[in-house]
Amino acid sequence: MVTARPEPMTTLRTVIVTVAAIGGITVVLIDGYSLGSTAIGATALALALAASGFRFRRQYS
């Protein structure tokens, strides 16, 4: 079976996903688990994970 190879983590990609992840966490830290901040935080984390090559099935199946 051929599995998709994750994109290499260049320095720029590393910086972007790290900033997105820490930013998403910080939004919820500052504003608490309100509906708006949780939605923004979760979106930022999801984007950071996706951009870093995270694949749920590969990780947990």
Binding site: R5, G32, Y33, T38, A39, L45, A48, L49, S52, F54
Partner: protein, 373 residues
């Protein structure tokens, strides 16, 4: 193809580390004493947060406060229960070991960062989604907006650690390289930067500047973890370790008694300052001094089982213990249970049951959400 970051297996140490590493490393590359300490620290954090929880219901709604705050007797206790430096020390030990092993089989820094992101961020995303859904359901059910806002704020408080830990973890390849090139200079630079931030923020009355120490203080403790992994602390004599701990505590006494810093080590956490490095130094010297005894404790079958169980669910426990605490409180209040007057005899008497209730409720939560670690 990017290398896979191993989590187990033998360690290939850098030459500098090989020279000083003692017989402390477990064959799997993990130090059981560090695992024990990390699990114990997590328990301390959960118990302290549980003890801190204070709730009153007034005519104008729910009021939440820190039950142990402003208690004079708690100040010396805070010197013992301030375990965050140990968390970053343990993180440093684990991460340098993991990164050096991965690097030895061809992993690139990006591969390491990716593995840390996945390890730390996905459990957080699951928590965000679950708690967001909970907030949504509570809003639709007609829960008071102010109460939900307060509950949401409380549940988000532990996230500071996740953000900082993620930041320090991502920097591991860079910080390990600096450590291998010039260990003393790297540590000195970080400690000096932390002291400079304290000085400037106090001199110019800019408290917000202190948050720069979220990087310098915790990266310095991470460096201490690198030194620990190298075996530097363990290769000191018992007398040297005792002296190091005593000197750190003496320095801490000096800066707090003279009023330069607060003597409350929980107050010193936000933003962090140089006192936490002194606490961390004392803890590290004491940890190295107690290493042989702790190693014997870690070999106990029951202790090992508990450490493995807690370590395997550490992120989940950390992310979920306050939400669990808040939900139990809310359920108790909704059921009409009276909250004892803080610091009363009844309050102290019921703390053990309160801690047991939170621990019992955390078990299924850790079991369920822990699958995403």
């Amino acid at each position: 193809m990017p290398a896979t970051i191993p989590t187990q297996g033998p360690v290939n140490r850098a030459p500098a580390a090989q020279a000083s590493a003692g017989p402390h490393q477990h064959p799997t590359g993990r130090d059981p004493v560090v695992d024990l300490i990390r699990a114990a620290c997590l328990c301390v954090v959960v118990v302290m947060h549980t003890m801190m929880a204070g709730v009153t219901v007034e005519d104008d709604g729910l009021h939440v406060f820190k039950a142990l705050q402003d208690q004079s007797w708690f100040v010396p206790v805070s010197w013992v229960v301030q375990v965050m430096p140990l968390f970053f020390l343990a993180g440093g030990v684990a991460s340098v070991t993991q990164w050096q092993r991965a690097r030895s089989i061809g992993a690139k820094p990006g591969d390491y960062v990716r593995s840390r992101l996945h390890r730390l961020v996905f459990p957080a995303l699951v928590a965000f989604l679950a708690l967001g859904a909970g907030q949504c359901a509570a809003t639709l059910a007609g829960a008071p907006v102010e109460t939900l806002a307060e509950v949401g704020r409380l549940m988000g408080l532990p996230l500071w650690f996740l953000g900082v830990y993620l930041g320090t973890s991502v920097l591991v390849p860079v910080m390990v390289r600096a450590h291998e090139a010039a260990p003393a200079r790297t540590m000195l630079l970080l400690v000096s930067a932390a002291a400079a931030v304290d000085l400037v923020s106090a001199t110019y009355q800019v408290p917000a500047l202190g948050f720069a120490n979220l990087a310098f203080v915790w990266l310095a403790m991470q460096q201490a973890g690198f030194w620990y992994a190298d075996g530097w602390f363990q290769s000191r004599t018992a007398a040297q370790l005792r002296f190091g701990a005593a000197a750190s505590i003496a320095a801490l006494l000096f800066v707090t008694v003279t009023g330069t810093y607060s003597a409350d080590m929980l107050a010193n956490l936000n933003p962090p300052n140089i006192t936490l490095l002194l606490v961390g130094a004392a803890q590290t010297f004491l940890l190295a001094a107690a290493g042989p005894k702790l190693r014997a404790v870690s070999r106990n079958r029951y202790v090992r089982t508990a450490v493995t169980a807690i370590g395997g669910r550490a992120m989940t426990i950390y992310l979920w213990h306050i939400p669990v605490l808040v939900i139990i409180s809310a359920l108790g209040l909704a059921a009409g249970l009276a909250w004892p007057e803080p610091h009363s005899v009844l309050w102290w008497f019921t703390r053990i049951f309160w801690i047991a209730a939170v621990a019992a409720a955390l078990l299924p939560v850790a079991g369920w959400f822990g699958r995403y670690e």
